[in-house]
């Protein structure tokens, strides 16, 4: 019973975070482009692909997490996406870049709080793992 509640909460939190973050970036790609540029890791086609692809993937994953047939795959992709975000922030921190996270659209402040960003991403990785593990147990045909 407790496991189902935890799983349900994690599922909702993960989907809500991706939906919120994705929609903000879908609505304002120019702002998100500034954020992606601040990481100074991609350029040209890869930059444009990231500007449009990442928000689209976040929205699709948010929807996919609520469709039993796609839940496991969406959970795995959510986990991988969060790991990617975490690695990118770690690299930026090591390189000493003053980045605009862009995680939720426009920056709230201009000082990069790396421990907070990493802590938040690690928490979401944990949530994604819970959903992934829970989705393995709860197969679509048993729901």
């Amino acid at each position: 019973m407790v496991g189902r509640v935890v799983y349900g909460c994690c599922l909702f939190v993960l989907a809500a975070v991706f939906a919120y973050a994705g929609f903000l970036k879908v609505l304002d790609p120019a702002e998100f482009r500034i954020a992606v540029e601040s990481f100074r890791m991609v350029d040209g086609f890869l930059l444009s692909a990231s500007v449009y692809g990442i928000p689209a993937l976040e929205v699709v994953l948010a929807v996919g997490l609520f469709i039993p047939r796609y839940r496991l795959t969406a959970a795995v992709l959510s986990f991988l996406l969060m790991v990617l975000f975490t690695v990118l922030i770690l690299i930026a921190w090591v390189r000493g870049i003053d980045l605009t996270c862009g995680c939720f659209g426009a920056p709230a402040s201009n000082d990069t709080n790396y421990p907070f960003l990493l802590g938040r991403d690690l928490a979401l990785i944990f949530v994604a793992v819970v959903v992934w593990k829970g989705s393995l147990v709860r197969k679509p045909n048993s729901q």
Binding site: P29, A56, L57, Y70
Partner: protein
Amino acid sequence: MSLFGKWQQWSQILLVTAVLASVNAWLNPAGLSGDDSHRVDLETALTWSESEGVRWVDAREEVEFLSGHIPGAVLLNENDWDGGLDRLLSVWDADTRLVVYCGDATCNASEAVARRLQEDLGFEEVYVLSDGWSGWVGSGGEVWSGE
């Protein structure tokens, strides 16, 4: 069902993502190309400063501003937007260009402040100093400290 789901579902999710991204790029192409026309190098900014004057806007942290800034610069950053905007408006002249700077060429705060001044408040002549504060110091520019 495998540990990672079925490959068909992976391909379907990625296909829908690609379609959604393409549609968004078609409907809202503002993110396809960066606009560098508002970036200005120090030499050009100094030419403006000598001929018509510019209003320097410091987008760094307050503690950095207090330890040293371009003479006459106004502190304006996301941390105290309203206070900084009041300071800017109290000295703003419609005929003077605004040149926003932050720490160096890799920082992003100046872009965010310049964009907000242009899009939210309608300022037209807003530019970003490419090399930022480090470029100013490196060129031997005068430095003021304190308020």
